[in-house]
Symmetry: C2
Subunit: 259 residues, 2 copies
DNA sequence: CCTTGAATATCGGTG
DNA sequence: CACCGATGTTCAAGG
């Protein structure tokens, strides 16, 4: 791979003023197109939605064209400090220090990063037009339950998927072993209050419809906080923790499992 | 600043095999200490908690010593794809492609990143011992209300802060203009169902204590979802949206506001 | 180790 | 623009 085009510009161990010149030349002429990364020893001061001070340490910062700025330490997936999208960045030299100043409006947030030593600056222009992320997510809790209703309750028989009622669409409609109608509300991840109220409405609708006093409602999710359980108890509803199962429909999977 | 120590190693526009050699030399000898970054044109396949495919595009990936791997596009603060901490990474050459293979156990997650072109590889060893982040955050909704009770309700008089009752500590105890006792539960960010139940218990306690049927309960928070409002209505409680105010305790603030 | 709640959450969709 | 819900949330604290 030859260096046909200069996608990446790099400088190592620049002085503060060299860093400023380099950034002015390669980044500030088109900050909306280039990604800037600085590795070095710095402090970080932030004030905005919160307020924080980060003492001297070696870390790297990334500034994206959309204004996002991230300060990353050697550990954690999350940046230790950041500025949100829409921030504008300025670069200054102040008494041997190289200073990155980022500002955001509404909410007002400011950050100052002071470098006493810069190991490297990398500036690159990346084209990622095909940035669509296809999420062929088939962690179908619903299908999982349809395949094996006993994972919710013994003797459960699924009767209908996506049954329409007044308030909306019921995920699963079933009968238990005593032939009592059961409405099952399925949640892929965290169960919320909203789901409880939804389920409550569905159950109310069904009681109206079938004029049967006996309609059970079960909320199924991988994670159900205690508070949600209490709320369900208040409304005389039930819950069941169900793991989600990841289905692998297409052949791409082979590429992954090959290893 | 001279190049006393090689904190950063960089190679530009390597072939797949050159990339592999370079990473073996500078990263794989101490992957628990060095951060690896690759900029180039790649695809990403992921399977684990979900499943995703990302088509060709120019992006950069970061691999931290703790196993975190991030795939960043030119926009967004969040990586478009990632592997969690504890993942292990392998590097292979396959028919001109340079392949990064990351694997995680429990939950099982795999990722394949295939580079058809690499613009640069940066490997650095960062020391960030003083990584403590001081968060002197005092976004005092309580003080805000004490200073200006009318932000909750006209004619409200704050009587006591942190009043003890059986179930716990009441944030604010007040009287409205009709001299009715008012219990105010304050939340800094999102109001939750937990806060509703807490407030409900406090009000119950107060009714017992004062033997007054008239005790109001108001939940104050910057954000109160509709579902919480419904729940409050169910329990005959009230709410008020209040903005939070950020207090600035120490002098560091001057550095930031100077700009 | 599992569970729970907080976050400068971020991000996308909707009214 | 504000609000609301989802997230492969991540992360830290507590049992």
């Amino acid at each position: 791979m030859t260096q046909k085009k200069n996608v990446v510009e790099i400088i190592q161990y620049p002085s503060a003023s060299e860093a400023k010149s380099f950034i002015e030349k390669h980044h500030l002429k088109k900050p909306e197109k280039t990604i800037l990364q600085i590795i070095g020893s710095c402090t970080v001061d932030y004030r905005g939605r919160a307020k924080s001070v980060l003492d001297w340490g070696e870390r790297f910062i990334i500034i994206k064209p959309d204004g996002n700025l991230m300060v990353h330490q050697p550990v954690l997936r999350e940046p230790i400090n950041w500025q949100p999208a829409g921030s504008t960045t300025e670069f200054r030299v102040d008494d041997e220090l190289f200073i990155v100043y980022s500002r955001h409006r509404k909410p007002s947030e400011k950050m100052i990063i002071s470098f006493k030593e810069i190991f490297s600056i990398v500036i690159c222009e990346l084209k990622d037009t095909a940035q669509l992320k296809i999420v062929g997510m088939e962690s179908d809790v619903v299908n999982h339950i349809i395949k094996d209703p006993s994972c919710v309750e013994d003797g459960l028989r699924i009767h209908k998927q996506e049954k329409q009622v007044d308030s909306g669409m019921i995920d699963l409609f079933a009968y238990d072993k005593s032939h009592t109608p059961v409405i099952i509300e399925v949640k892929r991840s965290l169960a919320t209050i909203s789901n409880v109220h939804q389920l409550r409405m569905y159950v109310n609708d069904m009681r109206h419809e079938s004029e049967s006093a006996n309609v059970r409602g079960i909320l199924c999710a991988p994670r159900i906080p205690d508070m949600i359980k209490n709320l369900l108890l208040d409304y005389n509803l039930e819950w069941k923790k169900v793991e989600h199962e990841i289905v692998l429909p297409d052949d791409k999977q082979k590429t992954l499992t090959d290893f």
